[in-house]
C-alpha cells in the first residue's frame, strides 16, 4: 500500500487515513496510560507456584457429533474482508451475473426494502471461483511471462485468400461484370494496376462493412503518368475514405504503361463484392 493517488482525490481514502491516524493516537494514549499505571503501582509479591497434582487422564465417551453444516458459499469463503465486507459481494452479484441469481438463495443483507422474497443472487463475481481451481494456470501465466510467450499467437486471423487471377480470367470476369468484351492486353493492364494499387492502398478495418465506394476520374499518359490530379467524381460520403483513395493513386503513380491513354474511372470499394 505504498502507491500514491497521483492526481486523484478520493474521500473514502481520506477518511480511511484519518481514521487510521485517530486510531493510532488513541492506541498510543492507552499504552501510555497503562505504562504510567504500571510504574505508579508497587511491585506485587509473586505467589509461590501451586503444588503440582498428578492427574490420570481417562477417555470419555464420545459426544454425539453435530451434523456438519453446509459449506459456506464460495463467495463468502473467498471474500477476504471482515463480515460486513463479505456480505457486500453478495449484493454485487445481481448486477454481474443475473442468470445465476435464480440458482442460489442467500438472503439479502438489508431486508428493509425487500417486500417479496426472491431467490438470492449468487455473487456475480462468482466467476472468480474458477480461479481457485486453476492454480496451475497461475503457474502457467508466470511461466509465460518469464518465457515471453506471445499470447497474440492465440488469435489466428486467416489471411485473405489470394485469387489466382490469370489475365484471361480477368478478361472473362470483366466481360461477365460489364457485358463488354475487353482485350487481353487491357485485362492484363487492369490486373497489374489493381495489384499495384492494392499493394499501397491502406484500408483499415474501420472501413470494412460500410459499403463505401469512391469514384476517381484520372487522365493517363501512354507511359502511365497521371496528367493532373485525380478528381473525385463520386464520393463515398466519408471524406477520409475518398482522400485515402486519391492518396493511394498519387503514391503508386506512375501506373503501368497503357496502350490507350486518356481518361479512366477508378472505383475504390471498401470491400470486395
Amino acid at each position: 500500500m505504498t502507491a500514491e493517488l497521483i492526481g486523484w482525490t478520493d474521500e473514502q481514502s481520506l477518511d480511511h487515513r484519518r481514521r487510521m491516524r485517530n486510531a493510532m493516537l488513541v492506541s498510543l494514549a492507552i499504552h501510555g496510560l497503562v505504562m504510567a499505571l504500571f510504574a505508579a503501582t508497587p511491585r506485587p509479591q509473586f505467589a509461590s507456584f501451586p503444588e503440582v497434582l498428578a492427574v490420570e487422564l481417562v477417555a470419555a465417551a464420545p459426544a454425539p457429533r453435530a451434523k456438519p453444516s453446509a459449506p459456506p458459499p464460495e463467495a463468502a469463503r473467498s471474500a477476504p474482508a471482515p463480515p460486513p465486507v463479505v456480505k457486500a459481494p453478495v449484493q454485487v452479484l445481481p448486477e454481474e451475473s443475473p442468470g445465476r441469481i435464480r440458482k442460489a438463495a442467500p438472503k439479502p443483507p438489508e431486508p428493509k426494502v425487500v417486500a417479496k422474497v426472491k431467490p438470492e443472487p449468487e455473487p456475480v463475481i462468482r466467476r472468480p471461483t474458477r480461479e481457485k481451481a486453476l492454480s496451475y494456470e497461475d503457474a502457467m501465466a508466470a511461466l509465460d511471462d518469464e518465457l515471453g510467450v506471445d499470447e497474440t499467437a492465440d488469435l489466428l486471423t486467416p489471411a485473405p485468400k489470394k485469387s489466382e487471377e490469370s489475365t484471361a480470367q480477368a478478361s472473362r470476369d470483366q466481360e461477365a461484370r460489364t457485358g463488354v468484351a475487353i482485350s487481353p492486353e487491357l485485362a492484363a493492364w487492369n490486373l497489374a494496376t489493381r495489384r499495384l494499387i492494392q499493394s499501397k492502398w491502406v484500408t483499415p478495418a474501420s472501413y470494412r462493412g460500410r459499403g463505401l465506394a469512391t469514384g476517381l476520374e484520372l487522365r493517363l499518359s501512354a507511359s502511365g503518368d497521371l496528367i493532373g490530379p485525380p478528381i473525385v467524381v463520386q464520393s463515398s460520403g466519408d471524406p477520409f475514405f475518398d482522400d485515402n483513395a486519391v492518396r493511394a493513386l498519387l503514391t503508386v503513380a506512375p501506373l503501368p504503361p497503357v496502350a490507350k491513354p486518356g481518361r479512366r474511372l477508378f472505383i475504390f470499394r471498401s470491400e470486395a463484392d
Binding site: E4, L5, G7, W8, T9, D10, E11, Q12, S13, D15, H16, A81, V85, A88, Q91, V92, E95, P98, G99, R102, P108, E110, K112, V113, V114, K116, V117, I125, R130, E131, L134, E137, D138, A139, T152, L155, T157, T193, R194, I197, S199, V202, P204, A205, S206, R219, A222, I227, F240, V246, R247, L250, T251, P261, G262, R263, R264, L265, F266, R269
Partner: protein
C-alpha cells in the same frame, strides 16, 4: 487580295494538318482525342478492392531543440514514445528507421522549404512527423508538423504544451494528432482506462494509460469497489463502494471543481445501488437498484433530482449502457428466463428484445459511433465477446477463446475494445481492435483485474 486569301487558306489547312498530326501522335494529343471518344461512351472503368495493407506508415524525425537544455537521451525518448503510441493505434505504424532514405533530423521551422518527398516516398512513408521542442514560460512546448508524403504538403501544424516534463504523455498526444491527420479520427493513446484490481488485497479502483502503462490507484480505502464509470468529461470516476451499509455511489475526482465522496446518497435512501452509468452529457445516470427484491433500472439527474423508473418487472434488469446519442439504453434482463439484451428508449418506452441466440448474454457496451453493441455471451461454460447491431440483424463473434473474455468497453474512437480475460489463468486486461485483431495484454502478474471502463479523450 486573292493571293492573300489563298495564303490564309493555306495557313488554315496547314494548321489543321499539323493539329491532326499532333492529335494522332503526341501523347497528350492522343489523350485529348481519347477524351473526345470517351465523352461519347462510358469511361473505361477499373474497380479496386482492398488489398492487405491495413496501416499507414509514418516516419518520426528527431525533434530539434530551441534554446532548451534537453539531452540527446530525452529527445530520443520523446521519439520513442511517439513511435510506441503510433504502434498502439495499429492503424498508423512507425516506419522502421532502417528504411529511412533521408535525414532523420527535423528541419528548422524557420526554413519553410519542403522535405525530400521522393526519398520518403521511396522509403515507404505515408506521412512524416517532425517538430521542435522549447521551454515556454516554464512549460514544455512542442511545435509539430505532419506531412502528407503523397501530396508533399503539410497535413497539419500544431503547438502542444505540457505542464510537466512528461515526455510519455507528450509523445502520446503527438501520436494521436498524427493519427487524426491521416484518418480523420484522433487516436486514443493519450486516453486512460479505469478498472478494478485486487492487487493489494482489496478491490480498489485503478487508472492506467490506454496502453497499460502508468497503472496507479485512484482509491485506497480498503473497501470493496466495483463498476467504475467515467464522467464524460474525464474529470471524475463514479464507482460503487461496499461499506458497512448498503452499496452506494462515490466519486473520485482529479478536478477541483468536482467534490469527491458519496453522491446520490439521498436518492432512494436505504436502497442498494449496484451500478451507475452516466449518459453522454454527464448530467444524468442510468442507475441499477433493488426494489421489492428485483433489480430495476432508474434514470436520475446527477444532482439527485428527477428520478424516473425505466423498468418495472419482477425479473432482474441490470447493466445499462447508453447509446451515443443518449436516446436509448441497452440493458440485460432475464425476463425471458435467461439473461438477454434488451433496448429501450431513455424514458423506458419502446422496449424490444435484441438477442435471441445464446443462453446467457450480458455486459453490453454501445460503440461510440452507434453501429455496434459489444457484449459477452456464454459458450460452452465460458464467455466470448460478440458484436450485434442495434437492429439485431447482424450478430457475430469477435473473440473466441477457451477461457472467458468478459466486460467489453469501447475506446472513444470506436476502433478498439478493452476487456478482462482469464486466458492466462487470472483476470487480466486486454485490448484489441474492434474486429478482434492486434490483441495486447495490459496487466501482468498483478492480481485480478476486472471491469475496465475506457475513459474519454482529454484536450
Amino acid at each position: 487580295m486573292i493571293r492573300g486569301m489563298k495564303s490564309r487558306s493555306l495557313l488554315v489547312i496547314g494548321s489543321a494538318l499539323v493539329l491532326s498530326w499532333m492529335t494522332m501522335n503526341w501523347p497528350c494529343g492522343t489523350a485529348f482525342a481519347q477524351s473526345l471518344e470517351n465523352e461519347q461512351g462510358p469511361l473505361p472503368t477499373l474497380e479496386i478492392t482492398p488489398g492487405n495493407v491495413r496501416a499507414f506508415r509514418t516516419a518520426v524525425l528527431r525533434f530539434r531543440t530551441i534554446g532548451l537544455p534537453v539531452g540527446e537521451e530525452r529527445i530520443a525518448t520523446l521519439r520513442k514514445e511517439i513511435e510506441r503510441s503510433l504502434a498502439f493505434s495499429s492503424i498508423v505504424l512507425p516506419l522502421e528507421h532502417d528504411a529511412y532514405l533521408a535525414s532523420d533530423e527535423s528541419a528548422s521551422f524557420a526554413d519553410k522549404g519542403a522535405i525530400d518527398c521522393d526519398s520518403w516516398k521511396q522509403s515507404g512513408a505515408d506521412a512524416l512527423v517532425e517538430g521542435e521542442l522549447r521551454r515556454d514560460e516554464g512549460r514544455l512546448r512542442a511545435d509539430l508538423r505532419v506531412w502528407d508524403i503523397a501530396r508533399c504538403k503539410q497535413f497539419k501544424t500544431g503547438r502542444l504544451t505540457a505542464d510537466r516534463d512528461d515526455l510519455a504523455q507528450l509523445g502520446r498526444i503527438i501520436a494521436d494528432e498524427s493519427v487524426e491527420a491521416l484518418t480523420g479520427t484522433r487516436g486514443v493513446a493519450a486516453t486512460e482506462i479505469a478498472f478494478i484490481s485486487d492487487r493489494t488485497g482489496h478491490r480498489e479502483l485503478y487508472v492506467a494509460a490506454a496502453d497499460g502503462r502508468d497503472q496507479r490507484p485512484a482509491t485506497r480505502s480498503n473497501t470493496l469497489k466495483l463498476a467504475p464509470d467515467w464522467l464524460p468529461d474525464g474529470r471524475a470516476i463514479l464507482y460503487v463502494a461496499y461499506g458497512a451499509l448498503q452499496p452506494g455511489f462515490f466519486l473520485t475526482s482529479r478536478s477541483k471543481d468536482i467534490s469527491p465522496g458519496p453522491i446520490l446518497a439521498h436518492v432512494m435512501k436505504g436502497l442498494p445501488k449496484y451500478r451507475g452509468r452516466f449518459d453522454p452529457t454527464g448530467e444524468e445516470l442510468a442507475m441499477v437498484t433493488s426494489v421489492d427484491g428485483a433489480a430495476e433500472i432508474f434514470r436520475v439527474e446527477r444532482r439527485g433530482n428527477g428520478t424516473v423508473r425505466l423498468t418495472n418487472h419482477p425479473a432482474i434488469d441490470i447493466s445499462p449502457s447508453w447509446s451515443p446519442d443518449g436516446r436509448e439504453i441497452v440493458f440485460v434482463s432475464d425476463r425471458s428466463g435467461a439473461p438477454q439484451l434488451y433496448v429501450m428508449d431513455r424514458d423506458g418506452g419502446n422496449l424490444r428484445r435484441l438477442t435471441f441466440t445464446g443462453a446467457y448474454n450480458a455486459s453490453p457496451a454501445w460503440s461510440p459511433d452507434g453501429r455496434w453493441i459489444a457484449y459477452e455471451t456464454r459458450v460452452r461454460g465460458q464467455f466470448d465477446i460478440w458484436l450485434i447491431d442495434p437492429s439485431g440483424q447482424i450478430n457475430f463473434p469477435i473473440v473466441e477463446h477457451a477461457r472467458s473474455d468478459e466486460a467489453p468497453t469501447w475506446s472513444p474512437d470506436g476502433r478498439k475494445i478493452a476487456f478482462s480475460s482469464r486466458r492466462r489463468g487470472r483476470y487480466d486486461l486486454y485490448v484489441m481492435d474492434w474486429n478482434g485483431e492486434n490483441l495486447q495484454r495490459l496487466t501482468r502478474r498483478s492480481g485480478a483485474n476486472i471491469q475496465p471502463d475506457w475513459g474519454p479523450r482529454m484536450r
